[in-house]
Subunit: 154 residues, 3 copies
């Protein structure tokens, strides 16, 4: 799979979230899909449950509604810095990719903190019109401040 | 516009600043140009004024002179980590691009802090010999420690 | 040298370290090689000695053994965010490249700190089968918390 197109996918994904265009977020996934936020410790222990879980676009859309209702995102902003993707394997048109990320949280007073670092473990596939989409996106966090009940997408 | 060339432009720009080759900085812009550092709050409120403003290479050069005279940059270093560019539109040879950034400030004692995060909102165009240059670069900060009177370029 | 391939090299290098696959690390270098971790101050003063030094794959392998014996890496994790490479020159099949980096350290309790920022100053060359490898990788740190005796590779 073309590296430039993976870079574009990741850049557009991060931009949608950081610009708080959450409604655009589910469209980055195929339907059904697997979206999960978890930690490196949970993965090492074989724990399946994550901090967030969705297996369809409908569940992703529910998540966005909850976020809009809670309005919690208004108290802070986030900035994703997405690193360089590594393509691990490719078969049947699906690429397995790992991409590191760092997320900074910015409070309303301008104070910035490291919110999370980790690695996206993705399965990426072109949709019907050839646009790359996530079959699977598992955000494995090295560390994170999971201190909000209704978190933004990772 | 070719993604690889946008990546090269951004990498060269960040390198010039982080290596304190400030005199190379104005040449990344066409003349006239628009260079502005502002905040996401100011943009949301429709406030035009930014923390820094220049509309010609001459103004950018003045900024560099002020910086060299103040010598303030000697007390700290900066490191830009520039994310992946998103091309939003392209017309008449000008590409509209958004690129996230994170800037770390390193004090002389080695202490590091998050100095700024944000997004460059750029208009990019090839110059007479085909090198990509900024018609416009607006650094929209999510957060930033604007605590120095004469700041380095963003 | 193709930018996409340099990006791939850097991404694979960072991934090996962050996933603690240290045994894969020496294979990113040709033999003999030059690997050094130093600071911007040392470079400015012309000091040759760095915080880490190796000039062969054997020395890199020794470093990994020391790390495994000390087990110190188990107390924390690291996350590299590698920026965009700038190719400075190219001659005799060797490219001179500078690439910024930021490393976050994540303690076992999930607490994250900026561990280091800086710039890789690399000489990169294809090996016998055409894979890009480091002839030289000098990690020049702007700042760093050099508080562990046996550090992970930068």
């Amino acid at each position: 799979m073309d590296l430039a197109r993976l870079v574009e996918l990741n850049a557009a994904y991060a931009r949608a979230i950081d610009n708080e265009k959450f409604e655009e977020w589910p469209a980055f996934f195929l339907d059904p899909c697997l979206y999960k936020v978890t930690t490196v410790e949970n993965v090492a222990k074989g724990l399946e449950a994550g901090v967030m879980y969705a297996d369809s676009r409908g569940m992703l859309e529910d998540r966005v509604s909850a976020l809009r209702t809670a309005n919690i995102y208004e108290r802070q902003r986030y900035r994703h810095i997405v690193g360089l993707p590594v393509v691990l394997a490719e078969a049947d048109g699906i690429a397995e990719v790992e991409t590191p990320f760092l997320i900074v949280r910015i409070m309303r007073d301008g104070n910035m903190t490291l919110f999370a670092t980790g690695c996206y473990r993705d399965k990426v596939k072109p949709d019907a019109i050839g646009a790359l989409r996530f079959v699977e996106r598992i955000a494995v966090c090295d560390g994170s401040r999971f201190d909000t009940l209704v978190a933004i997408p990772f």
